[in-house]
């Protein structure tokens, strides 16, 4: 993916984020914030029969955090908890410069070069950290 396309994907998802507007009723909700910066988002997932059927978020955060949340939530909808966990793990491997499966990440490849700005890795990892917390009890409260 070239740099121009990556920037376009990030900007599109920052300026027109997917499912921004938090739904709480019947959802698991988690606050995502970075101690080192000022990003502050709430993320919610609706899980039924071991599947994520909806995902929303809201809050104030930088272009990287907001867009990464938008893309990640879009990709999580429809996934089983197992597949969701695998996606998150794969994404985090990419951000942390560990071996990862490129084909599975699609739009998330926009963050492939984030390691070049180490202080922004936490921005890219903000949504995955929160979703991981939400999934740790397999969709139970």
């Amino acid at each position: 993916m070239d740099k121009e396309l990556k920037r376009e994907i990030i900007l599109e998802n920052y300026q027109h984020p997917f499912h921004k507007g938090l739904k709480k009723e019947g959802y698991l909700v988690e606050n995502a914030n970075n101690e080192s910066c000022i990003d502050n988002l709430d993320i919610s997932l609706k899980i039924e029969k071991g599947k994520i059927i909806d995902a929303t978020f809201d809050g104030e955060a930088c272009a990287i955090s907001t867009s990464a949340t938008s893309i990640l939530l879009k990709k999580l909808i429809g996934k089983t908890l197992e597949d969701a966990k695998e996606l998150i793990e794969n994404y985090e491997h990419m951000i942390n410069e560990e071996p990862y499966d490129e084909a599975a990440l699609e739009e998330l490849l926009a963050y492939q070069d984030i390691y070049l700005q180490p202080n922004r890795k936490t921005c890219a990892l903000l949504p995955s950290k929160a979703v991981k917390n939400l999934l740790k009890n397999d969709g139970e409260e």
Partner: protein
């Protein structure tokens, strides 16, 4: 002015984050090195020349601090690790005993976490009541707002001399005089005022003052707690150990030294006190009025340069002092700060540790510029040029 004295400026950065910490001149660094290299002994306890010299300079710094803030006695100066430490010692060592359930503490939502949080803890522990004085236009605290908030139950007013976000200079003299007349104690967080303007605790009737060296050219890890002597004597030490006791026995008979030593347990940061001494001497050489004037001049110049840029929204234009808070339209403040860093311009993005102020401001987060005397018009020109090109922001940061 004096730019050649600051080694960090030689790296080419444009430093507009003086509210967070200031740069250090060579004189401060040299004085600390001189201590370590030539007389780096402990104080108050060695019968040899190096220790005498260290003790003497340490105690001399107390006198220099006294003079700098216009206190009556050098025994009213306690060295701490910084403003946060000073405020915690004042609030938990004095006010926790002094205040009773139902007593009111006047404060504002613009205060720093280090002043608000200890009082919030006291609110939970002993049931005092925090009363938030309303802020007026551009989030300023006025004397009228203070006066209208006073009730029979008001026992303390706790405010910053200059707020660290908005940067407004609080009417200390008027508030102080009113407090003294009405038996209200006056606690001032001087972290953002002492480095930038002349301070006089006697004239302003300040009962307690806290400030840090690192925001006024000095090293980190050292600050000052000023307390009016009769109040300081009532303060309970939160730390016990060496150099603060007169004598003790295994039967538990303990005699403490008098203030201020009673409040300085253990080996203090001696090199840092020496650094603070050099910092104050350096500031006095320039003159605090001169410093305040230069900062105001820089702020006016910046405002003049951006007044025709529709994408720049300034939230505290009318406030005197060297702080500007602004946003680039539709850009998250952190993204703006990251963009400016590309031009080696250092700014701060966020709520600036005054998180309760979010409830008042139209935006949650802002970019803050905080000037000091070594900043220049030319540096502001570079900043303004970057702001003018901010339509290329995402090309640069993404």
């Amino acid at each position: 002015m004096n730019r050649e004295d600051f080694p960090l400026l030689k790296t080419g950065i444009i430093y507009f984050d003086n509210g967070a910490t200031s740069l250090k001149p060579k004189a401060v660094l040299n004085s600390m090195n001189d201590y370590y290299e030539n007389y780096g002994a402990n104080i108050h306890r060695g019968d040899y020349d190096a220790s005498y010299k260290a003790s003497e300079i340490y105690e001399q710094t107390r006198e220099i601090c006294r003079d700098f803030i216009g206190a009556a006695s050098k025994d009213e100066i306690v060295f701490t690790s910084g403003t946060t430490d000073s405020l915690n010692k004042i609030i938990f060592g004095f006010f926790k005993q002094y205040l009773k359930k139902g007593d009111e503490v006047l404060i504002t939502k613009a205060e720093h976490a280090s002043l608000l949080l200890p009082f919030m803890m006291l609110e939970k522990e002993i049931g005092i009541h925090l009363v938030y004085m309303p802020l007026s236009e551009e989030y300023r605290l006025t004397f009228e707002s203070f006066k209208n908030s006073v009730t029979q139950k008001t026992k303390v007013v706790a405010i910053a001399g200059v707020s660290n976000v908005v940067g407004d200079h609080r009417p200390l003299k008027e508030i102080g005089a009113y407090c003294r007349e009405n038996q209200i104690l006056f606690l001032v967080d001087g972290a953002q005022s002492v480095p930038h303007q002349a301070t006089n605790v006697l004239e302003d009737h300040i009962d307690f003052l806290a400030f840090s060296a690192h925001k006024m050219l000095g090293p980190t890890g050292i600050g000052v707690l000023y307390g009016r002597k009769e109040l300081l004597k009532k303060m309970i030490p939160l730390e016990y150990g060496g150099d603060m006791n007169q004598s003790f026995t295994s039967l538990g008979e303990v005699t403490l030294k008098d203030v201020p030593l009673r409040l300085e347990a253990g080996t203090p940061p001696i090199a840092e006190v020496i650094g603070l001494r050099s910092a104050i001497l350096y500031l006095k050489e320039i003159g605090m009025e001169e410093i305040a004037k230069q900062e105001m001049y820089l702020k006016k110049y910046f405002l003049e340069q951006v007044k025709d840029l529709p994408q720049i929204e300034v939230y505290n234009a009318s406030v005197e002092g060297g702080n500007v808070i602004f946003n680039i339209q539709d850009v998250f403040s952190q993204d703006a700060a990251i963009y400016l860093n590309h031009f080696k311009i250092c700014t701060r993005a966020g709520a600036h540790c005054a998180k309760a102020l979010k409830e008042e401001l139209p935006v949650q987060n802002t970019v803050r510029l905080s000037f000091y005397f070594y900043n220049t018009k030319k540096e502001i020109d570079t900043l303004v040029a970057a702001l003018k090109k901010s339509d290329t922001l995402y090309d640069i940061i993404l």
